[in-house]
């Protein structure tokens, strides 16, 4: 079962569109898939205090984050009839305009993939010990706050 496999979910630096394309094309051999839902988080160039966000530097508590991500994956497979599910989050520096989160769900019929994708994004943002430090154009920095 895909749900049991321990996967590499952290990526050093931004997630490239090429990586996403390869991830999509790997699924063309799974002929029972009818729907894919992809969520991509992109670093915004927000205006904060004295400067613009130029990049976010992500760190995580990996030994805690990995089992939590595994548990979220397993809960998601138990809750929705998915064919597969992939989660990738950046660590280190990701510039404004680059992708830092890639959540990818696939199912026979679209409802499962769509609902599972939102479910995963919500839980990842709330439950996984990852921190983003926003690096501003004036070289100061601010710890990111999720809304």
């Amino acid at each position: 079962m895909e749900a049991k496999k321990i996967k590499q979910m952290f990526v050093e630096g931004p997630i490239s569109s090429q990586f996403i394309a390869e991830s999509i094309s790997k699924h063309s051999s799974k002929k029972n898939i009818g729907a894919h839902q992809l969520f991509l988080g992109q670093v915004r160039q927000d205006e904060i205090n004295t400067g613009q966000v130029m990049a976010i530097e992500y760190t995580c508590y990996k030994e805690m984050a990995e089992p939590i991500l595994e548990a979220i994956r397993e809960d998601c497979f138990a809750k929705y009839p998915l064919t597969c599910l992939h989660i990738y989050h950046s660590l280190g520096l990701v510039n404004a305009g680059e992708i830092c989160l890639f959540v990818f769900t696939s199912s026979s019929h679209r409802q499962a993939a769509t609902e599972a994708c939102s479910y995963l994004v919500e839980r990842i943002k709330k439950e996984v010990p990852i921190w983003g430090k926003e690096i501003l154009s004036d070289t100061s920095s601010v710890w990111k706050i999720n809304q």
């Binding site: 992500y58 760190t59 508590y61 830092c100 989160l101 709330k126 990852i130 983003g132 706050i145 999720n146």
Partner: protein
């Protein structure tokens, strides 16, 4: 309680907590409870009291006061901001 009852625990800190402590990991001495550990940290690093910090013991978030031993790893976790 005298100092012989104290244990050594490993503290790991992330995000703004790491900035306040000035290190990703330190060893502190404290009496063998989570509350005692938190009090010591706040005395050592008063700026910690200004932040919302959750504590994890051996990778599990704990809100009540539990006993600690020398093998415990205590993590200081500011609000998560992944994604």
């Amino acid at each position: 309680m005298n100092s012989s009852d104290q244990i050594q625990v490993k503290i790991v800190a992330f995000g703004i907590a790491q900035e306040i402590i000035g290190s990703s990991s330190i060893i502190i001495h404290c009496e063998p409870t989570l509350n005692a550990c938190k009090e010591n940290l706040k005395t050592m690093f008063p700026n910690l009291t200004k932040e919302f910090i959750q504590y994890a013991v051996n990778k599990q978030i704990v809100s009540e006061n539990i006993s600690l031993n020398s093998h415990c790893e205590i993590a200081l976790l500011p609000p998560f901001s992944g994604g």
